[in-house]
């Protein structure tokens, strides 16, 4: 029997902030071109785990990891891995939209410029493609040279997703991408996630349980640094195996 291919795998992963043991022996495999949601109360380790997936925590003082994280079977904490190369492969979208104080166009092609791409045609095509993928093109095509900061919060977040897509990653990490948005912008981002999973592997941290239910294929529940339960989303939300999971998702925690 051939071994199933997983886009991302975490093996015996432990993470520490100084002496604080933030992640305890996490073993999980994430499927390609699917949406995996991480849920759990604040401080449970879900964001730490998300950030270890593209080494966002590397520069935090006292932070260290033990164990492996495999991207396409290759350890991302290996000596031969360059972090900037890794982040081309694993993009990230944050809680608050964080466009740069530049034009809309420059925001989208920012990653390409860093890579040294100067060809105007390539930049323009990439910008249009990325903005179309995030359903923003029709809204901004006539004002690409205006400041990104003039966009609404929901548009800014979609712009940030477009910026992440422009460098053609295969994995997109989202850390509570809609927690600062109104319901309509939230719905648009959720629609977008649904579309994007055809081409990308998406990992999302969310505090909104219904959102996890709506957008994800798999859900992982974390509690005080441990992975308590990881299952198909429809299973986890209808018949969770662990009482702790049930208490959390039904709002009877603590």
């Amino acid at each position: 029997m051939s071994k199933k291919f997983y886009k991302l795998e975490s093996k015996n992963l432990n993470a520490f902030y100084g002496s604080f043991h933030a992640l305890k022996n996490i073993n999980m495999a994430m499927e390609e071109k699917a949406v995996t949601a991480f849920i759990g109360p604040s401080g449970c380790g879900k964001s730490t785990f998300l950030r270890t997936l593209n080494r966002m925590n590397d520069y935090i003082d006292g932070f260290r990891v033990e164990g492996d994280i495999l991207l396409d079977g290759r350890d991302i904490y290996g000596r031969d891995v360059r972090v900037d190369e890794l982040r081309k492969e694993v993009g990230m979208v944050f809680q608050k939209p964080n466009p740069f104080p530049k034009t809309i166009f420059e925001n989208v092609v920012y990653g390409l410029r860093i890579q040294g791409i100067k060809d105007k045609r390539v930049l323009a095509e990439t910008a249009e493609n990325s903005l179309r993928q995030t359903a923003l093109w029709e809204e901004v095509k006539d004002k690409l040279d205006q400041s990104a900061l003039a966009l609404s919060g929901g548009q800014q977040q979609r712009l940030c997703i477009a910026r992440a897509l422009a460098i053609s990653p295969s994995v997109i990490l989202m850390d509570e991408p809609t927690s600062a948005l109104d319901p309509i912008s939230t719905a648009k981002i959720e629609e977008l996630i649904y579309e994007l999973k055809q081409a990308y592997t998406i990992i999302i941290v969310t505090h909104n349980m219904q959102q996890a239910g709506r957008v994800s294929d798999y859900t992982a529940f974390f509690y005080i640094g441990e992975l308590v339960e990881y299952a198909k989303t429809k299973t986890l939300f209808t018949s969770p195996k662990h009482e702790r999971t049930q208490n959390y998702i039904t709002g009877r925690f603590g």
């Binding site: 999980m28 495999a29 349980m209 219904q210 239910g213 798999y218 339960e229 990881y230 299952a231 198909k232 429809k234 299973t235 986890l236 939300f237 209808t238 018949s239 969770p240 195996k241 049930q246 998702i249 039904t250 709002g251 009877r252």
Partner: protein, 235 residues
């Protein structure tokens, strides 16, 4: 106690009130039938309106809970189970009314011999006992008891299957009793349905408590175990 717990408790309480009413209807239907008590029969029929009000009210409470609390896991299963139990209770109430209407349409009591050979009273008592135990299983969240009730339905089915031949044979020798015989046959048929409805309720108790689907399982055996159990497995 969390907010949703209070709502769910209220819902359960409402369902219990309805359950009590329906149990009274079914119990009284039996007394009315055996004693040809027209007053009691009228009372059973009249109670139907009250049961219908509960039916509508409980449906509405479930709708509100789903819309406002978006329950998941055990909470969701409780709401879904309550919707179905509610519908089955309402049907059992209708059955009691139906039996009472047969009582109202007749003057005398049923011929003891016919009751005896069809085992109609035994059937009625077992249906009542199943219904009562089902209520206890619901209150105690006792799925073992709920499972036991599923097996008891077989006895009602057996009596029902034999009743047609028994009554036909009896009527051949006692042609004067045709109306009485047909009415009794209809009542037996209704009691058989009560057994099915109590079975449905027991299945919902198991679904709510154990997250297991047991309905339609006896017929299919374990053949298509996969359809839902596949979803139940975690990664």
């Amino acid at each position: 106690m969390s907010h949703i717990d209070i709502e769910l408790d209220t819902l359960r309480g409402k369902l219990m009130e309805m359950w009590d009413l329906v149990e009274y209807q079914l119990q009284s239907g039996r007394e009315a039938m055996l004693n040809a008590d027209h007053d009691l029969a009228r009372k059973v029929v009249k109670l139907g309106k009250k049961v219908n009000n509960y039916d509508v009210k409980i449906d509405r409470m479930c709708e509100n809970l789903l819309a406002l609390y978006t329950p998941v896991a055990v909470d969701l299963r409780l709401v879904l189970a309550t919707l179905k139990i509610n519908a089955n209770l309402e049907r059992i109430g209708d059955t009691a009314e139906g039996i009472s209407m047969y009582v109202q349409n007749r003057v005398g009591t049923y011929n003891p011999e016919m009751l005896d050979i069809t085992r109609a009273v035994i059937m009625y008592d077992e249906a009542l006992a199943m219904f009562h135990d089902c209520r206890l299983a619901y209150i105690a969240n006792d799925t073992d008891q709920a499972r036991a009730i599923l097996k008891r339905d077989k006895m009602l089915n057996k009596i029902y299957r034999k009743s047609e031949d028994i009554i036909a044979h009896y009527l051949r020798n006692n042609p004067a009793s045709i109306e009485e015989g047909l009415a009794l046959l209809s009542i037996i048929k209704k009691l058989e349905r009560v057994g099915d409805q109590v079975t449905n309720i027991s299945e919902e108790i198991i679904f709510y408590q154990d997250a297991k689907v047991v309905k339609h399982k006896s017929k299919k055996k374990n053949k298509d175990k996969e359809d839902r159990s596949d979803d139940m497995q975690s990664q």
